[in-house]
């Protein structure tokens, strides 16, 4: 009898022990944060979102190569004819070149990695809505959705087909889940619709917070322009509708930003001062914060970069670009955004220079613009049918850039050309020009003199994706 008693006693102990174990085995690593720990409070969600901002401001994405670096090389903005130049092959659209290919692969890999981060955040936020105070649930979720659309749209612009040749071609996957299931490639139309769907939701969520702040107490809310805010989402929708050639909606969205009254063009006094705001930061709908911009700038846009890395162009090119011979010499973008170094006459694009600026210039340095106020005017001008309105919209920008106003009798084609010229001038060092050429399926890329074709406009999807994506 005692035997039985004893064994029962032990058996019980064993059962007790083992049931208590599961929790004990749940060790929290020190070096890392377990995801269940991260989702414990609002701060964790903010941190995860901030992680995405940090990730997309990396040099492989908006911090350098997706904007001022390679994307702008593809836009034909720089002289990379030197055969030892790191962007030499990219300059002639040789996407099979190993260096170029590696940079392109990074767009894809880092882009989708950022999307995975967003998806994991989005997968957990709804069930923990109660953790958030004020509008923060709306803001975090809205920004995450907005970023997911932004990244997908930019990946589509890079790796998708030329939109003018049809939007029903298979392009890239639109990923909304962090799982190891392979996602199928969607048609361009499907991707654009998915972007717009996310953006619509994001816009609804973010509508609770439309202020554009700078320097308020709460760090998370204090730099609206550097978050995927309500206006950025609206502006991005305008951009996407235009890419989709949905002019009506594009116009609507662009006007929503213009009429929103939250943004203004920069005043020349802020650009011509000792500490100039070369980024025109009040005009940013969305710009990423790039912590190490000074060194990136030094490695690209200064003599310190060396001849094999420096990105600038010949004086003749600059003069043509800014139409110096035909009244463009007063353009603030020509006057204040180019600099020489020492006694050398070589001009360098100076949008991101900050040697002569103080750290105290806070809001006007270390940013890379992704969406600008001026683009809303270009989009609206392109989308409206009224020639008068086109002219008015363009002149609104020209006036703020120190350019003479356009005459009222220009033809639609001439106005379109003016819009193109604005894209060239306005987005120098920002990487948007290449996408303009691609959207327009331009026959030629002005800066490089190379004929536009899908071979130029469509970046190759990485081999790894093709090899392992059987979906």
């Amino acid at each position: 009898m005692t035997t039985i008693h004893r064994s029962t006693y032990w058996l019980l102990l064993v059962i007790l022990f083992s049931t208590g174990c599961s929790k004990w085995l749940d060790v929290k690593p020190k070096t890392y944060v377990n995801e269940s720990d991260l989702w414990k409070d609002e701060q964790g969600f903010k941190d995860a979102l901030t992680g995405v901002y940090v990730a997309i401001s990396d040099t492989t994405l908006y911090g350098k190569n997706f904007t001022m670096g390679m994307m702008d090389v593809l836009g034909g903005n720089y002289d990379v004819a030197n055969s030892f130049h790191v962007y030499n092959k990219a300059g002639s659209y040789q996407y099979t070149d190993a260096t170029t290919k590696a940079i392109i692969n990074e767009y894809w890999n880092k882009g989708y990695n950022a999307i995975a981060n967003l998806n994991n955040l989005l997968a957990n936020i709804d069930s923990r809505k109660s953790l958030f105070v004020n509008n923060n649930y709306n803001i975090v979720k809205g920004e995450a959705l907005g970023l997911r659309a932004l990244l997908h749209f930019d990946l589509l612009r890079a790796f998708g087909g030329v939109p003018a040749l049809g939007l029903d071609k298979k392009s890239i996957p639109y990923v909304t889940q962090f799982s190891m299931t392979v996602k199928p490639n969607l048609t361009m139309n499907e991707v654009l619709d998915a972007c717009l769907k996310d953006l619509l939701t994001a816009r609804d969520l973010l509508a609770v917070y439309q202020q554009v702040n700078y320097g308020i107490e709460d760090l998370f809310l204090s730099h609206t322009r550097n978050h995927m805010n309500y206006w950025a989402v609206t502006g991005l929708m305008a951009r996407i509708y235009l890419y989709k050639n949905d002019l009506e909606n594009a116009y609507k969205m662009a006007k929503a930003v213009i009429d929103g009254g939250r943004f203004n063009f920069i005043d020349v006094s802020s650009v011509s001062t000792t500490y100039p705001n070369r980024l025109f930061s009040p005009e940013h709908l969305f710009a990423v914060y790039s912590a190490n911009q000074e060194s990136i700038n030094a490695s690209l846009f200064k003599s310190s970069a060396g001849t094999n890395n420096v990105l600038t162009n010949k004086t003749t090119f600059i003069n043509t670009l800014f139409e110096i011979a035909s009244g463009g010499s007063t353009d603030y973008r020509y006057l204040y955004l180019w600099k020489t170094e020492g006694s050398s006459s070589t001009k360098y694009p100076a949008k991101y220079w900050m040697d002569d600026l103080l750290n105290g210039n806070g809001n006007s340095i270390r940013r890379v613009p992704v969406l600008r106020y001026s683009e809303m005017f270009y989009i609206a001008a392109e989308a409206t049918a009224s020639l008068t309105e086109k002219t008015t919209l363009l002149n609104q920008v020209r006036q703020k850039r120190g350019l003479p106003l356009l005459a009222n009798n220009l033809t639609a084609e001439q106005l379109d050309n003016e819009i193109f010229k604005e894209y060239r001038k306005e987005f120098y060092q920002e990487g948007q020009l290449f996408f303009y050429y691609k959207r327009k399926n331009s026959a030629q890329i002005a800066g490089s003199g190379i004929a536009g074709s899908p071979a130029v406009y469509v970046l190759p999807i990485p081999d790894d994706e093709i090899e392992f994506n059987h979906g």
Binding site: T2, T3, R6, W10, L13, V14, F17, S18, C21, S22, L25, D26, V27, P29, K30, T31, Y32, V33, N34, E35, S36, L38, G44, K46, D47, A48, L49, T50, G51, V52, Y53, V54, A55, S57, N105, N109, Y112, N113, A116, N117, N120, P173, V175, F178, M180, T181, V182, K183, L219, S222, H223, N226, Y289, A291, N292, D464, E465, F468, N469, G471
Partner: protein, 1145 residues
């Protein structure tokens, strides 16, 4: 009590295995008892033809319920008889049975004692007529019935009765009594002419009679009843083979244990061996690298380089490889290698690679005894694997290879100058033997002191050990200090034991640097300048017409500087045991083990070190950053607790053992390191004196916590000594696996059949066959050799960049919640045979081990967000045969004279069953890599092939017409073009059979042992032929074969390519992986030759020394091999001679 008594006796009766030879002599004394609870019945009935006495007694036992005590061996030697009794009185029946046998019997109460009949009674004058009386009691004073009282050295024995009383007749005055009972410790006492021994109290046994058990570290089983595969080696046997190195000693006894020679690091005492049991259960590339070395005490630390490493258990607790490597071999009582699923079942989740169990010595009671052992090791470098050119020949080779031919007259003049300079050096007699410069004949030592003593209640032991293991490279060595203390206290049924060990270690690397630096230096260079000082630069190699050149540094110069390359650790281990013997065959054991260790490693090279010789521009930043200091600190802490309950019981003819237990363990491993640069002066040799951190570096580190909990149960049932079964079941949980699969069950089932106990074998029994046992086992085991946290999605904070003052967290990896334990299904069948009175002992096993669910990376399309994640996907299989034969050519137990020979061997075959796409990609990448990497065969894993397959392009030899190599494509066509696509399997590094053989002779205290290891049928890519002959860099010294058999002119049929081609230009294209250099790697190596002498105590009695033993060992004396290849690239191999003396006082 009687019931338990029986099974112990059964256990004790059994012949120990050959590897417990120490106890072979005890055999004659073993006594069998058959007993059951007593009722009174004294008449027996039995009718049978041709039965053994044993069978008759068993039958009587059943009918009468009397105890039967007899020497089984003696009884079994008797002739078979015919019986026919019908309700015959027991006495009469026994008398009838024994009338023709030289046996007599005595019935004392309800016990029948059968013993050999006195041949000449009354001859012993010293015998007293009066019977010797006594009473056997336990600690609490309760009588012990059924205790055996034996007169030492005779067959005179009796049993105590129900009140513990006994009587013995014919006991000589000077005799010793051996009093024993199951569950109690044996006690010996001198009679000293007494007629009443009074109360003899026996202590509850700490351990079951441990000479006949298999210990798995967590529980013990009688060898006879165990169906698992285990090899047990006593410390004494190991010390005979090698008194310095635990693993070198152990590997001789089991062919399944493989420690391949480390071709790279030779006999470097600071390189831990790469051990595997029965092949590899993982892909070699799988070890996850964490970037920073973990503490040496971290169990996981060695898995990173050897994912097939077995689990090590020291005194019941898991320890790291380093702990065993640095363990004083003199402390080892026994090592047990557990191989199959049944044997390793208690370790379920950790046992896939097998388990090596180490038990250290426990103090024996008695007056204070000091055991001292001193070993002197002389270690000398073995430079025979190197076949390098001397100065004159080297210069000639250079000349013949056209290295002094210039394309223009001015270049030619430069060449001529270099040549004449070197020529004149050679003429002057410069012929530096670089190989001997950095090496020494090291003299190492090991001192061990072990003091033990105590009484029935309190026992103690203290040990000190110091090992100075000198390496053959000057300045390299490994010093270990060890101190320990053990106390055990027993009161009634409770035993408490505590064991504390403190270990300190320092390992020094040679300031002379890597040995490979010396094998390449030209012998016409001299290490000293004209003033006899060590020069820093030996030569400045230039090519006429090109600017710049290469500075050839003299690595000996580094030894004149104050470099510091060492690592050290200090730690302690404390193990506490509690044992509580409950009634009814229950025993509770609680254990708690704590390991703590802190590690440090330093590597300091001043600016003057030759590794910075090429940085000469003093204006550069790099110049200021010459000199380096890399420092790492690590710490490790673990605790491991377990509680087990053992139970055993007899049920009829069956015997039942059971163990259930729970355990939990936690390990915390921390490490941090930093790299500092800029140490302009040798004296600035502290890390804080550096100029700057290594550019773009940050301190690195890690902090891993792993926890494990396990429940285990094991049942063993033996029926009638003929059939046995083992069954075990475990549940293990670990932090390393997915939340959905945190616990995993592991099980094992073993069956065994003792054919020698069957009636139909009885004719052979005792004469031809002593033992014939068949065993089979099947079960699952797991392995947890992986970095923690793979199963959860984890985030890391990005600290290097902010986002407007906010820190962001980013996903590190996809945590696969479904990750399961990697499971190895192990199947084993085997047999144990012992023939001709233990003269021939054979053991054979066949196994099949399949590792399923191997954790491998799966490559994903990057669009899912990551490029790979871990999944249970791979499958590997090992199957093999292993065996061991031990034959005693001479065996005379009485005089302790014997001569035995043994051979063991293993044949293992490895097959990849399934791989993931990441490995396929690795294969493709390995083929893509540039030619410089193709000069050696690259790893390649393909399903259906062996992990150890050598992939290279088939060669048809050297074309006599052109001197170029002809390759055979996959399709069989001949071509001059080498292409990675044409690679096929050209051999397998796994040998057909490998193992050990040896012999042992013992005669009058002199013991001679010879132990060799061999391998047959394995292939090897002779990298020396590729690197040092054909692809030899002729600027430096090369293998002497560089000129032998080389193609010179059309028509030459040669083995090697030409140095120059048809047109006379030097051949510059490297020789890529070719079947031409795949050679058979058969070898026979003498591991150990040992000569021992046990000094008779009478010689040493004057100094009160006992058991004094002198031992001489020579290790790695010679090696016969079919392949001539440079071994010991960065550190030479060594040969050792050990002198060892052990004594007790």
């Amino acid at each position: 009590m009687n019931l338990t008594a029986l099974h112990k006796a059964v256990k004790g009766r059994r012949t120990p295995r050959h590897y417990v030879s120490k106890f072979a002599f005890a055999l004659a004394l073993t006594i069998c008892m058959l007993a059951s609870a007593g009722t009174y019945a004294q008449r027996v009935t039995m009718k049978a033809q041709n039965v053994t006495l044993d069978e008759v007694f068993r039958s009587f036992k059943k009918q009468t319920n009397y105890y039967f005590v007899y020497n089984l061996q003696v009884v079994r030697q008797q002739k078979r008889i015919n019986v026919d009794f019908k309700q015959t009185a027991l006495q009469d029946a026994l008398a009838a049975c024994l009338k023709d046998a030289p046996l007599e019997f005595e019935i004392i109460e309800n016990t029948v004692v059968i013993r050999q009949r006195k041949t000449n009674p009354g001859n012993n004058a010293a015998q007293t007529e009066q019977p010797l009386k006594g009473r056997v009691l336990d600690e609490s004073g309760k009588p012990i019935p059924g205790a055996t009282i034996l007169v030492r050295g005779t067959n005179v024995a009796t049993l105590s009765d129900g009140a513990g009383n006994f009587q013995l007749r014919n006991v000589p005055n000077g005799a010793w009594l051996v009093v024993s009972s199951i569950g109690y410790e044996k006690r010996e006492m001198a009679v000293n002419g007494r007629t009443d021994m009074g109360n003899i109290s026996l202590l509850t046994a700490v351990e079951n009679i441990n000479e006949v058990v298999v210990t798995t570290g967590l529980f013990k089983r009688p060898v006879e009843n165990f169906t698992g595969v285990a090899t047990s080696v006593t410390g004494e046997q190991m010390r005979t083979v090698n008194s310095m190195n635990v693993f070198d000693a152990l590997k001789v006894f089991d062919p399944a244990m493989r420690i391949p020679d480390n071709v790279q690091f030779g006999s470097d005492p600071n390189r831990l061996p790469q051990i595997s049991l029965r092949g590899t259960n993982n892909f070699p590339v799988q070890g996850a690298s964490s970037g920073i070395p973990a503490s040496g005490a971290d169990f996981m630390s060695a898995y990173q380089t050897n994912p097939s490493m077995p689990l090590f258990i020291l005194d019941g607790f898991e320890v790291s490889l380093q702990k065993i490597y640095d363990l004083d071999i003199n402390r080892i009582e026994r090592m047990t290698i557990l191989k199959d699923a049944v044997a390793t079942s208690a370790y379920g989740s950790r046992a896939a690679n097998g388990v090596i169990v180490v038990d250290t010595k426990q103090p024996k009671p008695g007056k204070l005894t000091v055991n001292y052992s001193a070993t002197l090791q002389v270690t000398a470098p073995d430079l025979t694997p190197y076949h390098l050119l001397n100065a004159a020949d080297k210069l000639e080779v250079e000349r013949l290879a056209g290295r002094y031919v210039g394309s223009t007259p001015s270049f030619q003049q430069e060449y001529d100058e270099v040549y004449s300079r070197r020529r004149s050096a050679v003429e002057k007699g410069v012929n530096t033997y670089w190989l001997s410069q950095p090496v020494q004949t090291g003299v190492g030592t090991r001192q061990s002191l072990y003091v033990e003593g105590g009484d029935q209640y309190l026992r103690y032991a203290v040990n000190f050990g110091y090992t100075n293991n000198r390496g053959v490279m000057i300045g390299s060595g490994r010093k270990t200090y060890e101190g320990g203390m053990m106390l055990s206290y027993r009161r009634k049924n409770v035993l408490v034991r505590n064991q504390l060990t403190v270990t300190g270690n320092r390992s020094d690397e040679s300031p002379y640097g890597a040995y490979s630096q010396y094998t390449r230096l030209n012998p016409y260079w001299t290490p000293y300048d004209s003033n006899g000082r060590v020069q820093k630069q030996l030569d400045y190699l230039t090519t006429p017409g090109y600017g710049g050149g290469t500075r050839v540094a003299n690595p000996m110069y580094d030894a004149t500087l104050g470099t510091r390359t060492y690592s050290k650790y200090f730690g302690f281990t404390n193990n506490t045991f509690l044992e509580w013997r409950l009634r009814n065959g229950f025993k509770f054991t609680g254990k708690l083990g704590i390991i703590s260790q802190s590690d440090q490693s330093d590597k300091f090279l001043p600016a003057d070190h030759t590794s910075f010789i090429n940085i000469v521009d003093y204006t550069s930043q790099a110049y200021l950053e010459r000199g380096s200091y890399d420092k790492t600190n690590g710490s490790f802490f673990s605790f491991d607790g377990s509680a087990t309950l053992d139970y055993n019981k007899n049920i009829g003819d069956g015997l039942f053992f059971a163990t259930v237990g729970v355990g939990a363990a936690e390990q915390t491993s921390r490490a941090s390191g930093m790299a500092v640069r800029g140490f302009p002066n040798t004296n600035l040799d502290e890390v804080f004196l550096g100029n700057t951190y290594l550019r773009n570096s940050r301190p690195n580190g890690k902090n891993d916590i792993t926890r494990r909990s396990s429940m285990f149960s094991s049942l063993n049932y033996t029926y009638d000594r003929r059939y046995m079964a083992d069954f075990s079941f475990n549940m293990d949980g670990s932090t390393q696996f997915g939340a959905d699969n945190r616990f995993a069950p592991f099980w094992a089932l073993g069956l065994g059949w003792n054919l020698h106990e069957e009636a139909f074998m009885s004719g052979l029994k005792g004469t031809i066959v002593d033992r014939l046992r068949l065993r089979g086992g099947i079960g699952t085991t797991g392995s947890q050799t992986f970095s923690p946290y793979m199963a959860t999605s984890t985030y890391a904070y990005i600290t290097s960049r902010d986002y407007l003052g906010m820190l962001g967290a980013t996903l590190l990896s996809y945590g696969n919640q479904n990750l399961r334990w990697q499971q190895t299904m192990k199947k084993n069948i085997g047999m144990d045979v012992s023939l001709l009175k233990e003269r021939v002992i054979i053991r054979l096993d066949a196994y099949l081990e399949t590792t399923n669910d191997l954790l491998l990376d799966i490559n994903t399309p990057p669009s899912v967000g990551v490029s790979s994640y871990k999944e249970n996907i791979g499958k590997l299989q090992n199957r093999g045969l292993e065996g061991n034969i031990n034959v005693f050519l001479i065996k005379n137990d009485k005089q302790s004279t014997f001569w035995s020979v043994f051979v063991n061997g293993i044949h293992n075959k490895n097959e990849i069953k399934e791989i993931s796409n990441s490995l396929q990609k690795m294969n493709a990448n390995n083929d893509k890599t540039d030619n410089n990497l193709q000069t050696k065969p690259q790893l390649r894993f393909e399903e259906g092939q062996s992990v150890n397959a050598i992939w290279a392009v088939r060669s048809a030899g050297i074309d006599p017409g052109t001197g170029r190599e002809i390759f055979i494509t996959k399709k069989g066509e001949r071509t001059y073009t080498w292409s990675a696509a044409d690679k096929v399997i050209v051999g397998d590094a796994l040998p057909t059979v490998s193992g050990n053989l040896g012999t042992n002779v013992s005669w009058k205290g002199i013991q001679l042992g010879v132990y060799c290891s061999y391998q047959y049928g394995g292939k090897m890519y002779n990298q020396t032929l590729a690197d040092r002959v054909e692809n030899a860099d002729l600027r430096f010294n090369v293998d002497e074969r560089v000129l032998l058999g080389r193609w010179k002119k059309p028509g030459d049929i040669t083995y090697f390519k030409g140095l120059s081609d048809l047109d006379g230009f030097p051949v510059t294209s490297p020789t890529l992986a070719t079947s031409r250099f795949v050679q058979t790697n058969n070898y026979l190596e003498m591991e150990s030759l040992s000569l021992g002498y046990l000094v008779p105590d009478k010689w040493t009695a004057r100094w009160h020394f006992k058991n004094t033993r002198l031992n001489l060992q020579m290790n790695n004396l010679f090696r016969l091999s079919t392949i001539q290849v440079e071994r010991g690239l960065d550190y030479p191999f060594a040969r050792n001679i050990n002198f060892n003396i052990t004594t007790t006082f």
